[in-house]
Symmetry: C2
Subunit: 444 residues, 2 copies
């Protein structure tokens, strides 16, 4: 069984709390909201992602016999409690921002309404899924904004943090607007276009670089992209020019070359000139190696003649901001709003909705964070997606999500697009502020 499918991929305290809830018969309706407390440096916005994986998890949640046996043998739990866990399913409601929605701090992107134990148990995995995909989709969206018109491909699997990170990073980058990924399994699982060229090892395994190029072309005649930096990039570009007529005679066109090291702004110009002078104006230049949105913006600023980019480690890890301050907090229990007051970690209580205001030209003009019972004009962003543990609609197609992202990024105020120059206005509704103040007056 995949680790992510196991209910035991959770923190022990979820189970110890469940045992306390069970003992006290605390099974009234709880409302938890998942949100990000603050933006990392450099980020002006975030892009919601991971909902589909969350819904799959909730639909399938149950303890296996082997897991129950192991828990029983641990000596931490009563037989009565283990028997109760055996029957536990998720039968609650989920409201969520649709994947690909732009959002901001304090805005819930997921709201779970369920009997307390069910809503509690799922915390660890829900954060684990939503945090990561949102992190990567947000990073990928910044790359898309930094390199308009360029072909962007996820190359990050090898240094992603484990198998699921590699697979879901491909998904998150695709929904944010990438052209595809190098990760084959993401093609099979999600239908994402896959891209691939060659590695240095193929060149090294041949005694002569030109033999490697030629053999690769015969084996992949429809996708001849040659890696030219193993020894000397410009010398290799000349070899590509010399090889082209021989391949053309066999009906094979060289599609592109790839650079992976050195000063790629300068090298790309020199290689472009060598290719053009050799009559290879249609051969594209694709670059990789330590790229991110900052580097893409620099290369765009100097108009480097590069057609596409493979973005690896810094995308799949979101290196400049590798985590979000993403939390899942109890906001209401048994009909009573709840508030955590810990220093610097206080929450806005109650079940909430986000209302988005749009300017006349469609640009995002500010959000209102409101109690659900006190609506506000604008577009309500949280949508019902699951009731009584069942989805309300089938899984959304990734093409639809990509269109949503495209529209929302186009509507993003300029101050948020690259390095945030001013925060996006999120108004805390007066009723919500009043409720928080009222709860703060309570003794606990």
């Amino acid at each position: 069984m995949a680790a992510g499918d196991s209910v035991l991929l959770t923190d022990l305290y979820q189970l110890t709390m469940l045992q306390a809830y069970h003992r006290q018969n605390m099974a009234d309706t709880a409302v938890f909201e998942l949100f990000v407390r603050r933006l990392p440096p450099n980020r002006g916005f975030l892009l919601a992602a991971g909902l589909e994986q969350v819904l799959e998890y909730l639909e399938n949640l149950q303890f296996t016999a082997a897991e129950l046996d192991w828990l029983a043998a641990s000596g931490r739990f009563s037989r009565d409690f283990i028997d109760y866990l055996a029957t536990l399913r998720f039968a609650g409601e989920v409201h969520a921002l649709p994947e690909g929605t732009v959002f901001f701090p304090n805005e819930p992107l997921l709201r779970i309404t369920a009997p307390l134990p069910q809503a509690q148990l799922v915390e660890s995995r829900l954060i684990n899924l939503i945090h990561f995909e949102t992190l990567i989709a947000s990073k990928a969206a910044r790359c898309v904004l930094a390199a308009p018109g360029k072909l962007l491909v996820d190359f990050g699997l090898r240094r992603a943090h484990g198998a699921e990170a590699g697979l879901l990073a491909a998904r998150a980058a695709w929904l944010a607007g990438f052209a595809g990924t190098a990760t084959v399994l993401a093609g099979m699982r999600f239908g994402i276009p896959i891209f691939g060229t060659m590695a240095h090892s193929l060149v090294q395994a041949h005694d002569r670089e030109e033999d490697a190029f030629e053999h690769f072309a015969y084996a992949q005649p429809d996708n001849v992209v040659l890696l030219i930096d193993t020894y000397d990039t410009e010398a290799a570009a000349h070899k590509v020019v010399r090889l082209a007529p021989r391949l053309r005679a066999r009906g094979i066109a060289i599609k592109g070359v790839r650079l992976d090291s050195g000063d790629i702004a300068e090298l790309s110009r020199n290689v472009r000139r060598i290719l053009d002078e050799g009559g290879l104006q249609t051969v594209t230049i694709f670059c990789s190696g330590d790229l991110d949105e900052f580097r893409l913006a620099e290369l765009a600023a100097v108009q480097a003649p590069i057609d596409g980019y493979g973005i690896g480690t810094r995308l799949d890890i979101s290196t400049d901001a590798p985590s979000l301050d993403c939390v899942y907090k109890l906001q209401e229990y048994a009909g009573v709003p709840r508030r955590k007051r810990s220093q610097h970690k206080a929450t806005w209580p109650g079940r909430k909705q986000v209302y988005r205001q749009l300017a006349e030209d469609g640009a995002l003009a500010g959000d209102w964070l409101c109690l659900e019972a006190h609506p506000h004009p604008g577009e309500p962003l949280l949508q019902p997606v699951m009731r009584a543990g069942h989805r309300l609609t089938e899984a959304e197609s990734l093409d639809l999500v990509r269109e949503r992202v495209h529209r929302q990024l186009a509507a993003l105020p300029a101050a948020l697009r690259a390095n945030r120059t001013e925060p996006y206005p999120v108004v805390i509704a007066p009723e919500l502020q009043a409720l928080a103040a009222e709860l703060d007056r309570l003794e606990h």
Copy 2:
């Protein structure tokens, strides 16, 4: 099937290169080595981890019928090549640093010797596994060094990058010397001790904080650790003091309290005083929240009266250095040493061994990176672990790995322990330097 068990969790170029190798009958023996090119800032050493997962992967590597059908339908590959993939298994040799070995840049931690296609295909997943566990084990070792005698627990699952990262971070932290993890599945899969207290939601779900404490104690009488920062930390410490006699009357001892916010150096002192004055000298103080080795060192420097730490996000993501420059490079093919010469990315060619020198007191005194054919005095670090695709011994127990780490960290020169003040000497043997120079004179 778990993503990590699929051969398709790889980069497309591995398959396109394999098709080229297949077409050219290039199946001679290849030697690839996996190493880290340079240390991240702040790191003085790295700790090898992930070998066990690599061996499992290699033993089980094969394409499923569904995967082969999908590849065939993609139109990228010939029928002949697909039939060849159906028979492909890993039948090579593996040499490796035992898990828990301290190592340095340019030193191979894994060497694969196999027919070229087999050794090529596994690149993406081998890096993906070794990179992540080594990253986290190295971070965890720094935490262990920064907090001698403290109970350290991995709390990072929720913000780890996906399911496998959460699970394997628990393993990596455990082998580096942590006392355990909050991740239940790591207990079941790897036998790692699991720890857990309660979340703020349990407190919030009760109208009165003291009721939450009392109910939790009844449900977990053997493990009463109370989270006291939901509203007012010091007020809650007084509630703990008032609750203790009532619990004692029922045979229940409070084991500890947990702080998760605010100035924990100051709060821990105040809470210690409140507990001590209330006769609760044996109740321990456990802290969590944005901790890492830097923060642990600060808290140790001011002698904060804290008994243990839960270390989450900054451990499971290795936030200050969330990736290593970890690569897998062809060093020999068909008996001929190979060298990549790309700018700033040149490699040391040939099959190599690392020899470690120890001072008289057992301290690490310097390593030699040598061609295997030219040994050097000292302890050879790379060990044979797999031959013809089969393990040479059964999986090493994590207890043995923990003992190795303990010994090696004790033998670490002071200059490498916290923030590196000088690099550890790794001598490139003269024969290796001569071979590299000779290859550089070759035309490719």
